[in-house]
């Protein structure tokens, strides 16, 4: 069981370290580059505009909510599920607890996690179809846009299959699904800093920069 050993052991470390170090590097690169080349950001920095714009767009209290009252709420729900399920799933917590770190924190009720997974998968399908069907979005989409939706949805799908034994009847025994689930999760972690999934952190810097730029014109956006 060399493959199992690798996926369950070293690869977990590789994935988490890539995710953590990669993300830190992303932030470091932004800061060091902007210190050299984006001086107006610092010259006109006013924290109130930074916080205002972050708050407005982290919470659904922005202009796009009114403009796109269907898409935007789905976008928020998608991201909430995306973060909450893997972090607060009782199954994951058990692993953290057993690990050398012995970390533990409150878990989501399993029924919630179940529903949130299904909701995330449904929204993923919607996003994918929207890209395919809408002439607008199809034109601006690139191959990686489709791919990243799949990369993001895959750990949730396999996680659901794993906990429900969905595909066991057609040969995906628990162990196999466990392996696929781990692999898909690891793939996503690795890809976060390396692809535009890095918006998970760069969002904050990008919004801050533009918030400052409009802030110096006297209003927050």
């Amino acid at each position: 069981m060399d493959l199992y050993f690798f996926v369950e052991g070293p690869l977990v470390w590789i994935a988490f370290l890539t995710f953590i170090i990669g993300t830190i590097l992303r932030i470091a690169f932004f800061i060091s580059r902007s210190r050299r080349m984006d001086l107006p950001m610092y010259r006109f920095l006013k924290w109130k505009y930074v916080f205002a714009t972050l708050l407005r767009w982290l919470l659904p209290i922005n202009k796009d909510m009114a403009k796109n009252p269907v898409f935007m709420p789905l976008l928020y729900i998608f991201h909430i599920c995306l973060i909450a399920v893997p972090v607060f799933l009782s199954g994951h917590l058990a692993i953290w607890d057993e690990s050398r770190f012995e970390w533990s924190w409150p878990a989501l009720p399993d029924a919630w996690a179940n529903w949130m997974t299904l909701i995330l998968l449904a929204i993923s399908i919607f996003f994918f179809l929207r890209r395919l069907i809408s002439a607008d979005i199809r034109l601006i989409s690139t191959f990686s846009d489709y791919l990243l939706i799949i990369v993001t949805a895959l750990p949730f799908m396999t996680g659901y299959f794993l906990t429900h034994g969905t595909l066991e009847s057609i040969g995906f025994k628990g162990d196999t699904m466990y392996l696929i689930h781990l692999l898909s999760g690891e793939l996503m972690l690795i890809l976060i800093p390396l692809t535009r999934l890095s918006h998970s952190v760069l969002f904050f810097f990008s919004r801050a920069a533009t918030g400052i730029e409009f802030g110096r014109r006297g209003y927050s956006m």
Binding site: D136, I137, I140, S141, R196, H199, S206, R207, R217
Partner: protein
């Protein structure tokens, strides 16, 4: 038959400009499409997907990926997009969930084109005139002074004691105009002189380079020229030891002096830059100007991108409009989120090559105006007013477009001592 482009030159130009923000923006756009229906070009062209702001800046990522190996035809394709399909009004930037400043990416593309000798003739021409004459219309110093003299004579019998001060050292206000005023609309200068006189203002025009506050170089991202043009005005302000610089009802002139010049110069000049809208509002609030009567017909007000979204004067503009009107009817989206008229970003001075594009994209503004039922559109911007007048004809709207200064000059109370005696 497309001539190759020096890829090294393209990259040498782009690389020092790809700061952390631009690099991030090019890389993190997830193509969610939220910017699509924020663009008046998209909306006015039957929601043509090719007009989606995010799509318009695809070139940048593409060029970087190709390491600058593109040809002339490719640059011409970019030209059509960044000039014919965008007013750089920045509305899309306000709606991007990531805060990607799409309009700034358009400016980078315009700068790249300019570095490759590709710029609209109507804008490029002004660069030469700015360099030689200090204004965009090749007006000589003599012509400028003659025009002012003539404006003074024409207005002198209307108001006792009216003067058009030139190079008055230590005046409070240095007044700057759009070169269109001495060239085509001298009444704008006369109206302003009257308003200043009635308000008892201490003001002056500069006699030399610097009186034209416009800065069309900005629209083709020619930062060097833009810096030179803006610094002309600040030099005059410095020499004449004025307290502030007031800009006529021109949008980009105000934006360039107030918000862009500090970037081009690397420091913030000490003289505050004030737009006419702010000045008029202060005059009315302080009672330095009183109106005999307000406009009786229904009015609405245009929000020029460069003084509202990019100039922060949304509330003042709206307030001023309501103070001069009895029946003020704001447009839908009034304020920072209003639509561009289609005449911004250099579209007006580009002339014939842009006309059909701007008339088409102006459809959204035309509909907005029609919707309010206003008979008078107050427009505190030269480019907007020319465009809106064209739209009124093109879309057969029963309204007229006026500057605030015209309304105020016509409707203000003239103090007794300034009223000429009838013989």
């Amino acid at each position: 038959m497309t001539a190759p482009i020096n890829a090294q030159a393209v990259m040498d130009f782009l690389k020092p400009r790809m700061g952390a923000r631009f690099k991030t923006w090019v890389n993190i756009c997830t193509h969610c499409g939220m910017c699509a229906d924020t663009c008046h070009f998209y909306l006015a062209n039957n929601k043509n997907p090719k007009m989606i702001p995010s799509y318009k800046v695809r070139f940048l990522k593409d060029i970087l990926k190709k390491k600058g190996r593109v040809d002339r035809a490719y640059l011409e394709e970019i030209y059509k997009t960044v000039y014919y399909e965008c007013n750089v009004c920045r509305r899309c930037s306000l709606y991007c969930p990531f805060g990607i400043d799409i309009a700034y990416l358009i400016y980078v593309l315009r700068a790249l084109l300019n570095s490759q000798g590709l710029a609209p003739e109507g804008l490029a021409r002004t660069v030469l005139d700015y360099k030689e004459f200090g204004n965009q219309m090749a007006i000589t110093d003599e012509e400028w002074l003659e025009t002012l003299e003539w404006c003074k004579e024409e207005t002198a019998d209307e108001l006792v004691g009216l003067d058009i001060p030139i190079d008055k050292k230590g005046a409070k206000i240095l007044y700057t105009v759009n070169a269109r005023e001495p060239k085509f609309y001298p009444q704008d200068i006369m109206e302003m002189a009257k308003i200043f006189h009635v308000a008892g203002e201490d003001w002056t025009f500069p006699s030399r380079k610097g009186w034209d506050a416009t800065n069309l170089a900005m629209f083709m991202s020619d930062t060097e020229t833009a810096r030179e043009v803006a610094s002309n005005t600040f030099k005059r302000a410095e020499e004449l030891e004025v307290k502030q610089i007031v800009v006529t009802e021109c949008g980009h002139a105000y934006r360039s002096l107030c918000y862009e010049a500090p970037l081009w110069l690397g420091y913030t000049p000490k003289q505050p830059v004030v737009h006419s809208v702010e000045l008029f509002l202060d005059y009315l609030k302080e009672g330095r100007i009183k109106l005999r009567e307000k406009l009786k017909e229904p009015t609405t007000v245009q929000d020029p991108c460069n003084i509202i979204r990019n100039g922060g004067l949304a509330e003042k503009n709206r307030l001023l409009a309501s103070m001069v009107s009895e029946d003020f009817r704001p447009m839908k989206n009034q304020g920072n989120y209003n639509f561009c008229c289609g005449g911004g970003g250099g579209a007006m001075p580009m002339g014939g090559e842009m006309k059909k594009h701007r008339l088409a994209s102006g459809k959204i503004k035309a509909e907005q105006i029609r919707e309010t039922g206003a008979k008078i559109v107050l427009v505190p911007c030269h480019n907007c007013i020319d465009q809106i007048r064209d739209l009124i004809t093109e879309y057969k709207i029963d309204a007229k477009a006026v500057h605030f200064k015209e309304v105020i000059a016509e409707h203000m109370v003239i103090p007794k001592e300034m009223t000429p005696k009838e013989d």
